[in-house]
């Protein structure tokens, strides 16, 4: 497995609280992605990064922000969590652009009550 670690693995939080999920890679890959996985929707891209401090929105970016201050870390923040953000969140990395192979983390199960 590629060196990707997501933390925490599980989190339960309350509506309105801020939440930060972390993705850490040891592969020195340029591209990093945050997806959410929901039944009936598959995987949907939230945000992605193409370098340090270079990020862009995906298809479901509302309510989420990201930061990448180092090559190895990509943080996803829910400023004020809502129940609709209950999901499984996956981080992925790729060496080049999206048409190369994506390597995925193990996922973070987030429950917003």
């Amino acid at each position: 497995d590629a060196g990707i670690t997501q933390s925490p693995r599980h989190k339960v939080t309350e509506t309105g609280t801020p939440v930060t999920l972390r993705c850490h890679q040891t592969e020195n890959h340029r591209y990093m992605y945050w997806y959410r996985q929901d039944p009936g929707h598959g995987l949907r891209l939230i945000h992605y990064s193409y370098g340090v401090k270079d990020t862009d929105k995906g298809e479901v970016s509302d309510g989420y922000s990201v930061s990448r201050s180092k090559t190895e870390d990509f943080l996803l923040t829910l400023e004020s969590a809502t129940s609709s953000q209950t999901s499984v969140y996956f981080c992925a990395i790729s060496e080049e652009t999206g048409n190369e192979k994506l390597f995925f983390g193990s996922g973070t199960q987030l429950s917003v009550l």
Partner: protein, 109 residues
């Protein structure tokens, strides 16, 4: 806009039967197509890419630009093929990968 459609949420087949997981796409340029698989309690991983034209674990997929399809096929299903399968698309040199909604394959012994 790019879009990937997997019409079947669940596909159940008997062991030894042929498997075809359907994938249709919408993209105005030249697409890169992929199949990813998620086995129980494992990470999502790449199964195959159309550009490499390889067969992985007996699975193949052919890109049909006329029908905008990239169906995944295997002549004889095995129990260990039971998993969630996602079709995905990216444009050439494009940074975003769009996934379909996934098809759960259940191989019945």
């Amino acid at each position: 806009a790019q879009r990937v459609t997997q019409p079947e949420k669940l596909l159940s087949v008997f062991k030894g039967a042929p498997v075809e997981l359907k994938c249709n796409y919408s993209y105005s340029g030249s697409p890169e197509l992929f199949w990813y698989v998620q086995y129980s309690r494992q990470r999502l991983q790449l199964l195959l890419r159309h550009i490499s034209r390889e067969s992985i674990k007996g699975f193949t997929a052919d890109l049909n630009k006329g029908e905008t399809s990239f169906h995944l096929k295997k002549p004889f299903a095995q129990e260990e093929d039971s998993a969630m399968y996602y079709c995905a698309l990216s444009g050439l040199g494009y940074q975003k990968v769009t996934f379909g909604t996934g098809t759960k394959l259940q191989v019945i012994p």
